[in-house]
């Protein structure tokens, strides 16, 4: 009975939280759309021959002068807004997920090890974390961007642009994971099951990843969702500052940056539709994060 209760706790909570359901539906719709963009989208923004400047600046269907082929209109290049957004979300989600994954792996490994070994290793990791914290996200991204420019040969820079940006975002997020993982590990270190494992002579790697890690997963999952949202926003901000992605591989952030030029010009859809989309995506991820937080910390309900 208790088992059943516990196991279905998350499901039950989910079914009874309209916000979480709506958020999940929105997030899944966007993720699916993004994942299947090549099959769903009308044009491929990467294929320059699939669209034409002739179709540029067409408004959404409900406005005068629209072409019904383009439901949400086209941008200044003649690209279908829906297609751009789907591909943009694809790229944004990719960067967000990849950055979050890198940050998680890096941060959790360092945090776990710092909490487990303590002492000097812990001190070194925490000082590195301090240095990272002293270099806020935007600056980290600028630095990584700069170093990539300097070190990589120009011909592969363009291709690696996405990865450089991903790495930059990941580096500005890992501290969060490291600090949380460390704090949680320190709590777990005092638990007898860890002491028992140490006493039995198990390998430290096994203790860290097989024993401790599953027990600190809860708070980490919450951070992962929150950081996925901030990674997507950070990418948008960096693109706004002109250190994000180039216009020919448009993420949602790049689309918004381009759209900013049309803020006053009357072609409102070029700015506001991607913005709305980004906000919907980030809000739903954040709502899901909130939901997870509630699941893992029932006392806050």
């Amino acid at each position: 009975m208790i088992a059943l209760l516990k196991r279905n706790e998350a499901v039950w909570l989910f079914v009874h939280s309209p916000a979480a359901i709506i958020a999940a539906v929105v997030a899944i719709a966007i993720i699916l759309g993004a994942a299947f963009a090549p099959w769903v989208a009308l044009v491929d923004p990467y294929d320059l021959s699939s669209f034409s400047l002739f179709d540029g600046l067409l408004p959404p269907v409900w406005e005068d002068g629209a072409n019904p082929k383009y439901l949400l209109g086209t941008d200044d290049q003649g690209r279908d807004m829906i297609s751009s957004i789907l591909y943009g979300a694809r790229l944004s989600l990719f960067i967000g997920l990849a950055a979050m994954t890198i940050a998680t792996v890096l941060g959790v490994s360092l945090g776990l090890a710092a909490g487990y070994y303590g002492g000097r290793f812990d001190a070194i990791v925490m000082r590195i974390a301090d240095v990272q914290l002293a270099l806020p996200a935007i600056l980290t991204a600028l630095l990584i961007d700069g170093i990539a420019r300097g070190l990589l040969p120009a011909d592969i820079q363009q291709e690696l642009r996405v990865w450089v940006l991903t790495l930059a975002i990941a580096l500005s997020l890992w501290v969060n994971f490291a600090r949380t993982a460390r704090a949680s590990t320190l709590v777990q270190m005092n638990k007898d099951y860890v002491q028992a494992a140490i006493m039995m002579g198990q390998r430290p790697i096994r203790i860290m990843f097989v024993h401790i890690f599953p027990n600190i997963l809860g708070p980490l999952l919450v951070i992962m969702t929150v950081d996925l949202a901030s990674a997507i926003l950070l990418e948008a901000t960096l693109s706004f500052l002109g250190i994000g992605l180039p216009a020919d591989s448009p993420s949602l952030g790049t689309l918004i940056r381009i759209g900013m030029q049309f803020l006053l010009s009357g072609e409102w859809w070029i700015l506001w539709i991607p913005t709305l989309f980004l906000v919907a995506l980030v809000v739903s991820i954040n709502v899901l994060g909130d939901f997870l937080r509630d699941v893992f910390n029932p006392r806050l309900r």
Binding site: L5, K6, K191, D192, A196, M200, G201, N215
Partner: protein, 564 residues
């Protein structure tokens, strides 16, 4: 004065309302200490919360009456109820460490409470606060009152808590496990204080506790609860001395006596693990016995010292060091149980951690059987002692990895020590072992949180035994358990020790438990051995003054109550 009639409290949940307490009746007279006793989950704390109106959300009183004097407590508005709190009813919580606001001085907290309930000037409130602290036995109160809670020791802090509960001169104080977190010596002082307050000030106490010894010592009347219902109520001597309800009888049977040793606890039939089928358990037993047919292994410790370096607080001053173990030497005879008793901070747990290699001693030697037992830093992960010495921890909630299935937990020693290399065999053996410790075989695919504390402790014991150890360290294995569960686990340990010829170091703060388990005894205080020797001799003729004090302070029941 306080009358509870037909009280039911329910907690709504998605499966409908869960009844926490049902049809509870209770009466307390002024100056009476009324014990409310029961094991965890009995609903005793909910009764206290209902009286003071602090049932945690979303619980609610479904029916019943609560009257204090002429006041119907249920009829009060929230504001009126809040005014009654502190003024007429007050409360003492279990843990003095957490029940005081760490950021406010004791004075501030006292004065704020006094001024809330009576229109007195600040200076007057201050005087009253100082007087009160002196009354409850805090010396130099005028000065100490300026301190923050963390500047008091545990016992003193609980006195401050009592002072806070007392400062508005309430008619009724609800004391929820007021001594559970305290050492015996302090417990005794606090109990004396409560008795004194009841007698002198004519304050009624609702004393909620799981400790029958405490009830026996100071309660005038007692009510026994189980599963949200009151089973029995009456004069303490009547209820405990001549229990009528079978549950009360069983409960009394499970209380370990201090004055003599009993071979086994008598348990109600359905609870006794000895009755379980041992068909599969026999496999496990056979496998364990088939292990090493060597003689039991003893342990000796010579001049063991453990010093902790304090945290550095000044550039020029060397940090103070703290000596947790001071030149400790003793020998555990092969195949016997050595009892190790002491209050908190005596160094018992440090000793266990040094022996198991979790802490590196500052000095001293250890020998397991014939071989030297290397200290932590020199003990490799593959040292034989890793397997030969196993440990059962105090808290069954933290000693099992919550994210691992029971099967994985039990299989771990088997593959780690290379005892069984086939995964299927490991699983079969784990199931057999579960049977041996009295657990159903389907437990193997469950997670620890699906079991009660007692069941988990059995799993923890099973894990330790599966390593085929020769030496077992039990660090307060029952202190987190209810008394009836404690009896089961102690029985189990005794059985296993007898069957497998284990040598056990049994660490406890409870003299009665120690008496039931130990062949030999060590009394530890501030890291030093006060007294050591055969158990019976030590309990009957304690040589050290400290041992005598401990024995004196341990709450005990009049011998004539014993039904056994």
């Amino acid at each position: 004065m306080l009358t509870i009639k037909d009280l039911s409290v329910k907690f709504p949940s998605r499966f409908g309302d869960v009844t926490a307490i049902e049809d509870v009746d209770l009466k307390i007279r002024p100056g009476e200490i009324h014990g409310l006793v029961g094991e965890s989950g009995a609903g005793k704390s909910t009764v206290g919360a209902a009286v003071i109106g602090l049932i945690s959300t979303p619980g609610y009183i479904a029916k019943g009456e609560i009257t204090l004097g002429d006041t119907d407590l249920r009829a009060l508005t929230p504001e009126q109820a809040h005014a009654v709190r502190g003024d007429r009813i007050s409360m003492i919580f279990q843990d003095p460490q957490t029940s005081l606001n760490p950021l406010m001085t004791v004075e501030d907290q006292l004065i704020e409470t006094i001024q809330t309930h009576s229109a007195v000037s600040y200076a007057e409130a201050q005087n009253r606060a100082v007087d009160l602290l002196e009354e409850i036995g805090i010396k130099n109160a005028a000065e100490r009152i300026k301190s923050y809670p963390h500047q008091f020791s545990g016992g003193m802090r609980q006195r401050v808590v009592i002072a806070l509960a007392l400062c508005t001169d309430p008619e009724l104080i609800i004391a929820d496990e007021p001594t559970t977190a305290l050492d015996v010596a302090v417990q005794q002082q606090v109990l004396d204080l409560l008795r004194d307050l009841a007698d002198r000030r004519n304050i009624a106490f609702l004393l909620i506790t799981h400790d029958i010894g405490v009830i026996a010592q100071i309660a005038d009347r007692v009510t026994v609860m189980r599963n949200g219902k009151t089973l029995e109520s009456g004069e303490t001597a009547q209820v405990l001395g001549h229990p009528q309800h079978p549950y009360t009888v069983a409960l009394m049977d499970a209380v370990p006596p201090l004055d003599h040793k009993i071979p086994r606890f008598r348990l109600p039939v359905e609870d006794d693990i000895a009755v379980q089928s041992k068909t599969k358990g026999a496999d496990a037993k056979a496998w364990l016995l088939a292990g090493e047919q060597t003689a039991p292994t003893g342990l000796s410790v010579n001049n063991l010292t453990m010093r902790f370096r304090g945290t550095r607080t000044s550039l020029w001053q060397k940090p103070d060091s703290f000596t947790a173990l001071d030149d400790v030497s003793f020998t555990v005879r092969p195949g016997t149980i050595m009892g190790l008793v002491g209050e908190s901070g005596s160094g018992k747990s440090t000793l266990a951690r040094v022996l198991t290699g979790l802490l590196h001693p500052s000095a001293g030697e250890m020998t397991l059987g014939d071989a030297n037992l290397p200290p932590a830093k020199q003990r490799s992960r593959h040292h034989p002692s890793r397997r030969l010495m196993q440990m059962v921890f105090q808290d069954p909630y933290s000693s099992l990895n919550a994210r691992h299935k029971i099967g994985a937990i039990l299989a771990e020693p088997l593959w780690l020590y290379g005892l069984v290399n086939d995964a299927k065999q490991r699983r079969a053996l784990a199931m057999a072992m579960l049977d041996l410790v009295g657990m159903p075989a389907d437990s193997i695919d469950k997670y620890p949180h699906q079991f009660s504390g007692g069941q988990r402790q059995r799993i923890a014991v099973a894990r330790a035994i599966l390593a085929r150890p020769k030496f077992l360290i039990c660090d307060e294995p029952t202190s987190a358990l209810d008394v009836s569960i404690q009896a089961q686990v102690l029985n189990l340990l005794k059985d296993l020790q007898a069957t497998f010829g284990l040598t056990i170091l049994f660490i406890t703060h409870n003299m009665s438990v120690a008496r039931q388990m130990a062949d030999d005894m060590i009394v530890l205080r501030n890291g030093k051995i006060e007294e050591t020797g055969p158990s019976e001799a030590l309990f009957s003729k304690p040589a050290a003054p400290y041992t005598r004090t401990l024995l004196k302070l341990t709450p005990k029941m009049p011998p004539e109550w014993r039904t056994a």
